[in-house]
């Protein structure tokens, strides 16, 4: 028996040596190439909030930070609330697309002083009620809120309790819809789809099967280039008309989306901070990158590369 064992071991050793001999490239061989240019930037912790537009922002900023500035970028997939919480514990350096969030601003910028505003992204955030394009085409007058009651019965679903259904999405998004329905005396009920995925799927199905759907949506959004939803006009926004949440009866304001960084990061003098501060682009830019990611199914990095190479001038302005 012992002989068997020894023979087996010897055979294995031979096999091992043969494999080793024709082994090919060793692990240490090529590792010296990549790490040459880094140094002064260090690690850059970038929060990635869960929507594609943000992912596009993060892809481009991370790509530039990595390739032009030599930073080690760590992307962290987090919801807004947790990302902001990370400013204080030093685990998040920057949030790239902030939609208002007055409560977080108050808590982390004013009270705890762990975060600071790093200026606008250049993107304009539009929130409102949208209908699928076929509906806007078939009944053009639906695009005025005054006519919504006329069609309320068409929007009935199993969830809306006899009224028309107004579909709301992810709870993290800013919404006054319940107050709006009440104060504009609409015969609708707000139904919470609960996630952006559910909302997009509802609109997609509605457009394909010519169903009646009206719901909360926003721009910039990649889905608009697949199904260009039409916005329903609400009473125009005037400063202060949304001061009291329960009495809101006007449209949403246009949000100037901005960047937030941790107080520590702002003082660090890191080139990544300058990049974040100077980062500025248009809704079309973001939609383009978002489309690469969402519809062309490119990886974040490939999408960013494609855009950065086509927009050298813009990128240069961020890192000068």
């Amino acid at each position: 028996m012992a002989r068997h064992w020894r023979a087996g071991a010897a055979g294995l050793a031979v096999l091992g040596l043969t494999l080793t001999a024709c082994g090919g490239a060793k692990v240490g061989d090529s590792s010296s190439a990549g790490s040459g240019s880094s140094g002064k930037c260090g690690t850059f912790n970038l929060a990635v909030n869960p929507w594609v537009g943000y992912e596009a922002d993060a892809a481009v900023v991370a790509y530039v930070a990595q390739h032009n500035l030599g930073c080690t970028v760590t992307k962290k997939n987090l919801k807004e609330e947790i990302a902001w919480q990370g400013f204080g514990t030093g685990e998040v350096d920057a949030v790239l697309e902030n939609w208002g969030h007055a409560d977080l601003v108050k808590k982390y910028i004013t009270q705890q002083k762990t975060a600071v505003d790093a200026g606008p992204t250049g993107n304009k955030g539009i929130i409102g009620w949208y209908v699928p394009p076929w509906l806007a085409k078939a009944h053009p007058d639906i695009l005025d809120y005054k006519n919504l009651n006329k069609y309320a019965s068409k929007f009935k679903t199993s969830e809306s309790g006899g009224k028309g259904q107004l579909l709301d999405g992810d709870p993290s998004y800013v919404t006054n819809d319940e107050a709006l329905v009440k104060n504009l005396k609409l015969d609708f009920k707000v139904v919470y789809a609960g996630s952006e995925t559910a909302l997009i799927q509802a609109f997609r199905t509605a457009e394909k099967n010519k169903q009646w759907v009206i719901g909360y949506f926003y721009e910039p959004q990649w889905f608009m280039s697949e199904v260009p939803l039409k916005k329903v006009s609400l009473p125009a926004y005037k400063t202060g008309c949304d001061a009291e949440a329960a009495k809101v009866a006007c449209d949403y304001p246009v949000y100037n989306l901005n960047k937030i960084v941790s107080a520590k990061f702002a003082k660090s003098g890191s080139p990544a901070y300058n990049l974040v501060k100077n980062f500025n682009w248009t809704n079309d830019d973001q939609n383009e990158v978002a489309k690469y990611i969402a519809q062309d199914k490119m990886t974040d990095d490939a999408a960013a590369k494609k855009w950065v190479e086509a927009n050298k001038d813009k990128v240069d302005a961020w890192i000068k």
Partner: protein, 666 residues
């Protein structure tokens, strides 16, 4: 309530007087009917009064108080000694464990651009360990499964997930098995532990994810702890169940032979309950893998983020590919652990010849594995998985076309089914519970508790009803209750049908089980998109998702129970001329009553754990409140209260069903 309720007898003494028993059997349905009639009458009169509704953005004082408390923890984090010397230490230990494993198999370690052990080494280890603890069949499965991850183009992601799962399961078992043994041996400990276990299993993870990152920071530790909290209870429960189910006579025999307590534990109880304990370990592994996508919400690396990110762009194919990797991992781990338990028994029966060969073969296997590890440590071709994952993109596009086909051709039928169940069953029931005054529904629940489970469960129900009102979310809780009950009824119906089928035929079991495993561990997020397309964002979609998740566990437990019915009993019944239907209904189901209870119990808890996922697809109510609390600071308190309400619902139904089963069995 005005209904006269016969005082239930607490005597569990054997053989109560026969006529009394018969009388009660007749009267209970009548009492239940009377309760229902009184409820309907009062509902007609009092409809819409005192329903305690609360609008989506409104808060109660309790919710605000929780918010303030949460904020104060956050503000004082860096000066609080509890954080500095307690939570930070725990975080360090667990973080180190996770990073150690990650550097070993998934993440670049130190100056190396690749982990210490490359794909070839990991596949080698997986095969060798599976063979050593199990058999060559599961070893082949393990090798094939792990290679599949690489072919899918998800090698690194899979290894990250594996690292986190191994850490979490390791930490969970470290606590769970001793606790389970305690709970099995001591009734008092069991009583104390049970509410905590209910809490851990039913409290939605979303509620404690944000605080966890406050306590343990963003990273491996938080993800692991979140997973442990959810995954440990099955092992504790099932270990206790196993210890309790060792036949009394065996233990008494050991006692009469003069075995000490310790001896009877180590030599009798543990070995005899091994098979069932392993089932608990399986469930823990499954639960840990079910947390992969949720942990990704706090930046846990691995397959979870792939699923979540592809869902932002409704990319079902990519999500499915990653979900499939999770399923494959679960099946491999499950089969290996099961084979490990079965091996002991086989080894005893196996021919002596093989045992003689085993040791040298193990040695040789170890040598081969060592060579593979060395190669994968040294050479690039064995470190980085070759190819670019074309199999993965084929799987993704196949899943995409299947989904599209289903959406295009089935949505008419599915909408019809949805409308029938929603309008015929769910809506009336929900209206009844949400539009009745709260005290009426509360009284009905307490009365049901008393009639079905006895005074004690009536008291528990009353306490739960009181606390539910206290959460300020009564109306939402009732909406969720309606959906949950409908889902649980469907889960049990499926569970009994498939469980009996599987329990009676080993072949059916072998065919169905992989699908069940897949349904249990496939992240719900993957099938939510097709479901949304088929049923729209509705409560019914949430119910379907809950059934997919909850039914497998019920089926498995029932199948196990049916199989545990002694062969001789079934044979005796057959020879007495019983037909198959009679054997099932008169022998097998009644004799596996305790399995049925456990199945109802677990099915319900699994359904409740999907309430939050339901909130993501249009179920509204408590699920939505929890999601909203996770997403918005001002709603945190309300989310926590909603989480508590889910736990309370779970505890209430759990106690009623258990007490009812005990009474039926007495």
């Amino acid at each position: 309530m005005t209904v006269a309720i016969e005082k239930p007898e607490k005597t569990e003494a054997a053989e109560p007087v026969a006529p009394v028993k018969a009388a009660r059997r007749i009267s209970r349905p009548m009492v239940l009917g009377a309760i229902l009639v009184v409820w309907l009458v009062l509902f007609a009169v009092l409809r819409g009064k005192q329903t305690l509704t609360l609008a989506a953005a409104d808060l109660t004082d309790l919710h605000r108080w929780i918010n303030d408390f949460n904020d104060s923890i956050g503000a004082n984090r860096n000066s609080n000694p509890l954080f500095l010397y307690f939570f930070n230490e725990i975080r360090l230990v667990i973080d180190n464990l996770v990073t150690f494993i990650q550097h070993l198999i998934s993440q670049p370690s130190g100056a190396r651009p690749v982990p210490e052990i490359g794909w070839l080494g990991v596949v080698g280890i997986a095969g060798y360990v599976s063979w050593a603890v199990g058999n060559w069949r599961v070893a082949l499965l393990a090798v094939a499964g792990f290679t599949f991850f690489g072919l899918q183009g998800l090698w690194q992601e899979s290894m990250d997930t594996l690292s986190l799962t191994l850490s979490a399961v390791f930490v969970a078992l470290l606590f769970a098995i001793p606790l389970g043994v305690c709970a099995g041996l001591s009734d008092r400990f069991n009583r104390i532990a049970t509410p905590f276990l209910d809490f851990m299993q039913t409290m939605p993870t979303f509620v404690y994810l944000a605080p966890l990152t406050l306590f343990f920071l963003i990273g491996g530790a938080s993800a692991t702890i979140a997973t442990v909290i959810y995954a440990a209870p099955p092992t504790i429960r099932i270990t206790a169940h196993a210890i309790r189910n060792v036949s009394k006579t065996t233990v008494e025999a050991a006692d009469s032979l003069g075995a000490t307590r310790r001896q009877s534990l180590l030599k009798v109880l543990l070995p005899m309950s091994k098979r069932t304990v392993v089932m608990g370990v399986n469930q823990t592994i499954m639960a840990a893998l079910a947390m992969v996508t949720i942990a990704a919400l706090i930046n846990a690396p691995g397959l979870g983020p792939v699923v979540l990110q592809s869902l932002q762009s409704l990319d079902v194919g990519t999500a499915f590919n990653a979900g499939l990797a999770i399923v494959v991992m679960a099946i491999v781990l499950d089969r290996v652990t099961t084979a490990a338990a079965a091996r002991e028994e086989h080894a005893r029966n196996a021919k002596h010849d093989f045992a003689k060969w085993r040791r040298p073969l193990l040695g040789a296997g170890a040598a081969v594995t060592a060579v593979l590890i060395y190669l994968s440590h040294t050479y690039l071709w064995a470190a980085d998985f070759p190819g670019d994952g074309t199999v993965g993109s084929h799987i993704a596009s196949a899943a995409d076309s299947a989904t599209n086909w289903a959406q295009d051709s089935l949505s008419g039928v599915t909408n019809a089914i949805r409308d029938v169940i929603t309008n015929g069953l769910l809506n009336p029931f929900q209206t009844l519970v949400t539009d009745s005054p709260w005290w009426l529904v509360g009284a009905v629940l307490v009365a049901l508790g008393v009639v079905l489970g006895g005074w004690k469960s009536g008291v528990t129900t009353a306490v739960c009803v009181g606390l539910l009102v206290g959460t300020g979310l009564w109306s939402d809780a009732m909406t969720t209750l309606a959906s949950t009950l409908v889902a649980t009824v469907l889960v049990m119906a499926l569970g009994i049908v498939f469980g009996v089928w599987m329990g009676r035929s080993m072949m059916v079991d072998r065919l169905i089980r992989p699908t069940l495993d897949a349904a249990q561990v496939m992240p719900p997020f993957v099938y939510l998109v097709p479901f949304l397309a088929l049923f729209g964002p509705t409560r019914f979609t949430a119910i379907v998702a809950a059934i997919v998740y909850g039914a497998p566990v019920a089926m498995k437990i029932i199948a196990d129970g049916i199989r545990a019915v002694p062969e001789t009993t079934v044979e005796a019944a057959t020879s007495a001329g019983c037909n198959t239907w009679q054997i099932i209904t008169k022998v097998q189901l009644p004799m596996s009553r305790s399995a049925l209870t456990l199945a109802t119990n677990q099915g319900l808890i699994y359904v409740l754990s999907m309430v939050v996922v339901g909130g993501l697809v249009g179920a509204g109510a408590l699920g939505y409140d929890v999601v909203a609390g996770f997403s918005q600071g001002q709603l945190y308190g309300k989310g926590l209260a909603a989480g508590l309400a889910i736990v309370l619902l779970g505890v209430m139904f759990d106690r009623i069903t258990q007490a009812a089963a005990r009474r039926a069995g007495a």
